[in-house]
Structures are given as structure tokens and as C-alpha cells.
Subunit: 138 residues, 6 copies
């Protein structure tokens, strides 16, 4: 799977792929990287929260993480109900459940500072990304 | 430069780079891809605007493009005043002017549907991205 | 734009019954009426758009309807991934598909002024509401 | 007054009433339930805050309650300056003072976790709702 | 009244006055200039709308004016329910009606491009400002 | 400089100056007072934070200050990339560095409650304001 992701990256360099924006025109431009970005932020914030014993810093970390989790959910949502179509669901019937559990992880990521949650979130986003890029090839 | 960008992409696969989020904790996670995403959307919207003669569709395209341009400016802004530090400015003294002109392109992108503006915006964002990734190697 | 507005303008653009709030504390307070409200607005806006030949009024109707559709989707989203739990999915396996198609209707409602779309959206929301209230009784 | 509210509720079930949205087209669709929803959330959050001794949970409760209070004020505001007209003020001269004191309660609800404040807020919203539904009958 | 306003301005230079922000901490910092700013923008946008026959420009003007009107209403709202206290209402019993009619002007400013509306809005804001600065002296 | 600022204030009374709004139509209406307002709020919040030993109050102060700092940065940003033009940069080559360091102060203002930071921020905003009003005279 790493090899596939490498080739996707190279593909994107040769012919820059459309990227995600919350558009709904529709502009036809999507990319799971936006959700991944927020998940990476969430993980970084959790790590810094755990490494700090300054209550003021922790306060701000909590506030900012809440926002990143919201953003992450938003980018996932756009992919789910705007990008994916019924034909995709036939090929990947697990999509609904996958998005649902991934979005639930954004809620969990707000409620705790357990980095394992962030890692699960990133893993799920990569699953979604793999399916997404396969549909782009099709 | 294409080669450098390819290697950056591969680097990011082996050791996923931090990506951008509007964090200011700081979470230490930045990536020009977020700005590029919005610029790609802007270009797609302009193309669809120009290809359509439906005033209702064009209305929505205008509204949505205004939002993407705002988002693009926001992501650029975060890179400029949160990521870049005085040490970077010594090595890349053109940074302020580069960000300023790129942000001005987001304004121009709102005011017209000339795809050349979107192409200029994308080119400038790639300039910023090149500098960004060089600083990451340093 | 206010932080709640900036961070979450999105919350806004973004009941003796318990009602829905975008809470995710979780506050345990949900109600499909919030989504229904926005759908009623969407329908009213479509009707007024169709009844008017004033391009200025129609411009504003388009802009405002885009926002209501976004809000509608947001309220649906909160119900789907925050309220409903795996146990509910066992009893109502159609939930994912139901939410997915309902959210897709909010997209369609942006793209046209066909009141039939609004009626379908309201009907789907009522389906969701029926299931929701059954789970509350259980 | 409870009887009136029961009948209003039954009315709304038989012929769903228009509900509130921040529209200002105007879409002509209003309902005090939106403000009540947020007040119910505020009360639930206060109760959970008081029942918890986890500073992290309390942090999030504070942040989320601030947002709900803002939303509550927003919905009240729309009713006050968009729905109510001079003719209503003649019949209900207490409206300005009622809205003013209710909005001030949303501020108080941010500043403390005294459930009595939330109860006062809900009571005031019900007063507003009673007047609102009377004007709808007129 | 001009003389009073001049002296207020000089006062503000000698001992910089607190200025308005939507704070509700409360931070104790308010100024009607924020509402006036948005009203000046609204007027400028109306003038440009009327001077242009470019439907694309007019589209953007409509969208942007809707936002400024919202912002104007928000700043007025903060003054009304956060700054003013019952003691002020005793001295200036016209406050509620004054804010109500001023906020209604922000709605009217969305619905038309009649500069007279913007002038009325500015005049009302100045009335509010005069009372505000009198209360500051008291 | 105080004298110049006094006369600017009087000028603004005789011929009300355009004020700032995040417009980008462009509406041509700008004023550094909007950024100053937020900076004044930030300072007031820091002072109240330091004067209080109530962790709940301090929590809210932190949340609200984060928002004001964001707003402050936004108003600065609009001035920088929307108002100022290449001709201004020729006369005031220090503008980019001035805005950059001022925006960095909004970040610092989030991360600590050192009133000296707020004072520096206010001083920088006044520098920007002085240049702004000079360009208006030119």
C-alpha cells in the first residue's frame, strides 16, 4: 500500500490532482489531505499537551484542538456526502461505516489527549484516502 | 525544481511531514498544500463560470469563489506570520514581497474570472512552497 | 467575524423536547427539529425565488439559501455521527444510507429552486426524526 | 399557559409551523424553539460541569457553553429585530425589556454555572414563545 | 452636538478610551465606532453598486454588503445588551426603541441600494454614540 | 506625533474618514481603529486575568483573548494586503516588516498575559496608523 501511495504522490506531481475544498458548486476538486492535515495537528497538540504542565498552555491546547477536530470532521464530511457517489458505494460498501467511525474518532480526539486516538484517526483517514485515489484511477 | 518537489513528496511519505493547520498554539504543523488546494478550487470555479451561461450557476460560483479566495489568503497568512521566522528572512529576503503579492492575487481572483490570475496565484504558491520545503531541510 | 463566527461561523453558517446543539461535550441534547427548521427555510426561499423576477432579490435568495443548506447539513451531521451509536445501527441498518441521501439533498437544494427537492428533504428529515424519537422511547 | 403551549405543540405536529432561521431575506420562517434548544444545552452543560471534578472536561464545558450562549443570543436577536414589528409592540409593549433581560441572561449563563440562571433563561424564552405564538394566531 | 463629539475625540486622545470588542468577559471595552465603520462600508458599497452596470461586480457587492450589515447589527447588539445597564435605561428610556429601529435599518440596508437608508443608519448610530459617550462622562 | 493624531481626529470629525471593514469589493473604506480596538480589548483581558485567581474566569479570559487576537490579526491583514499599494511601499519600505512584527505580536498576546506585549502591540498599531493617515493626506 505504501507503493501505491508513493505512485499517487508522483502522479500528483506530474498532473497536479484536484484538491479538496468545501465547494459544493460542485468545483470537482477534492483531496483527503485536508482531513489528514487536521489530524496531524490534533496529534501534535495532544503530544504538546501531555508534555506540558503549564495549565495556561493546556487551556489553549484544549481550545485549539477542539477547533482542529471540528475542521477534520468537516473535511471528512465533504468527501463523504459530496465526493462519493452511489457507484462508489457499490464497489466499496464499507464507505459509510468507515466515514462514520472516522468522524466518531474526531469526537474522541476532543475528549482526551490519548495519542493512540490520533493515530487511529490518521489510520482511518489513510484508508479513506486509499479508496479515494483508487476511485480517481478508475 | 520538479525533481526537488518529487523528493519532498517521497520524504513526506517516508516520514510524514507536519502539515498546516491554523493552530498558533503553536502546534508546529504547517504545509503550503492548504493554500494550494484553495487556489486549485478557485481555478476550477473560474473555468466553470466561464463555461456556463446560466446566471444562477454563475451566482453560486461567484459566492463560492469569494469564500475559497478568503480561505486561500488565510492559509497564506498563517504561513507568513506564524511559520516564517527572522532567520528565514535573512536567507530569503524576498519573502515579505512574495507573500504580499500572492495575497493580492487572492483579491484579484475574487474580482474577475480570468484563469490567468489563478495560474499566477498557483505559481506564486509554488514559489512559497519551494522556499518552505527548503527551510524544512535546513 | 467573531470567533465563534471565525472559528465556527460555521456553527451558525454555520425545546421542551431535548434539542440539538452542536455540543460534542457531549451535552446529550439533540433534536431533529433544528435540521427541519433549515429545510423549511430552504423551501420558503425557493418559493420566493420562483415568485420573484427581481434579480437583486434573487441574488440574495441564492446567497441565503446556500447558508441554510449548509446549516441543515450541519445539524444532520451532528445527529448522525454524534447521537447515533452502534446499537442503533443494529436496529436501523438503513441509517447511514438515509443520512447520506438526505445530506445529498442539501447539496441539490443549493443547485436548483425546485420545491420538490425541498419537499424530499423535509420527508427524509421526518424519516430520521421518526427513528430518532423511537430510539428515545427505547 | 401550559395548556396554550400544549395546543401550540399539537398544532405544530398537525401542521408543522415555520421555524426560525437566520434568514433576513426575509424568508418569513421563525420559531423560538431554536433559542430554547440552546438554552437547554446550556443547562445540561452547567449540570455536567457541576457534576464533574475533571479540569479537562470542565475546560471543554466552559468553551462549549460560551458558544451555545452566543447561539442562544443570536436566535433571540433574530426574533426581536426581524420578526417583531411595530404593530406587535403596541399590543405587547413589554417586548423590548423582555428581550433585553433575556439576552442579558445569556451573558450571565456564560459567567457562572448556576443552573438557576439557565432556568430563568428558559422561563424568559417561554414568555417570548407565548407572545410569539399569540401573534401567529392573530 | 458636534462640539461634544470633538471633545470626546480629544478626551480619547489624552486618555485613550476603551474601545468596543465583542468580549462579554466582560472586558469593559466598548465603542460605537465599530458599528459606524460597518455602516460607512454599507454606504460605500451601495454607491458603488449604483454606479456600476457590471452584473458580476453587483453580485459581489450584494454578497459583501450582506456581510457588512450582519457585522453592523452584531456591533449594535453588543452595545445594547452588554454595555447598557438598567441605570442607563432610566436616564435614556428611548434606548430600546432606538436600538431596535437601528437594527431594523441594517435589514433594510441588505434589501435595497438606497443610500438614504445608509444615511439613516449612520444618523441613528450617531444618536447611539452620543448617548454612549454621555454615559461615559457620567 | 500626538499633535498629528489630534488633528487627524479633528479631521475625521469634520469630514468623517472612511473606516475599515473587511470588504475587498473593494469598498475603499479602511481605518486602523479596528485593529486598535481589539488590541485594547486584549490588554484589558490580560489585566483582568492577572487580577483574578478564579480559574473559571481565567478560562474564559483565555478563550476570549484568543478570539480578540485573531480579530486583531485579521484587521491588520486587511490593511496590509488590501489597502497598501506598491506606491506606498516606495515611500514606506518598512511596511512589510512592520506588519509582520505586529502580527507576530498578536500571536505572542495569545501565549502569555504579559501586559507589556499588549502595549507593544498598541504601539506598533499606532505606527501603522500614523503611516496610514499620512497616505490619506497625500
Amino acid at each position: 500500500m505504501l507503493l501505491a501511495r508513493m505512485f499517487n504522490a508522483l502522479d500528483r506531481l506530474r498532473a497536479p490532482r484536484p484538491v479538496s475544498a468545501h465547494c459544493d458548486l460542485p468545483c470537482g476538486v477534492y483531496d483527503p489531505a485536508q482531513a489528514r492535515v487536521e489530524a496531524e495537528s490534533i496529534k501534535a497538540i495532544m503530544e504538546k499537551f501531555n508534555a506540558s504542565d503549564d495549565p495556561y498552555f493546556r487551556d489553549r491546547a484544549t481550545l485549539i484542538k477542539e477547533q482542529r477536530a471540528e475542521e477534520c470532521n468537516h473535511h471528512l464530511d465533504v468527501l463523504w456526502y459530496q465526493y462519493f457517489q452511489p457507484a462508489h458505494l457499490e464497489k466499496y460498501p464499507q464507505l459509510h461505516e468507515l466515514f462514520w467511525s472516522t468522524k466518531k474518532l474526531t469526537s474522541q480526539a476532543k475528549r482526551a489527549n490519548d495519542v493512540a486516538i490520533a493515530d487511529q484517526l490518521l489510520a482511518k483517514i489513510n484508508e479513506i484516502a486509499d479508496i479515494f485515489w483508487e476511485t480517481k484511477k478508475a
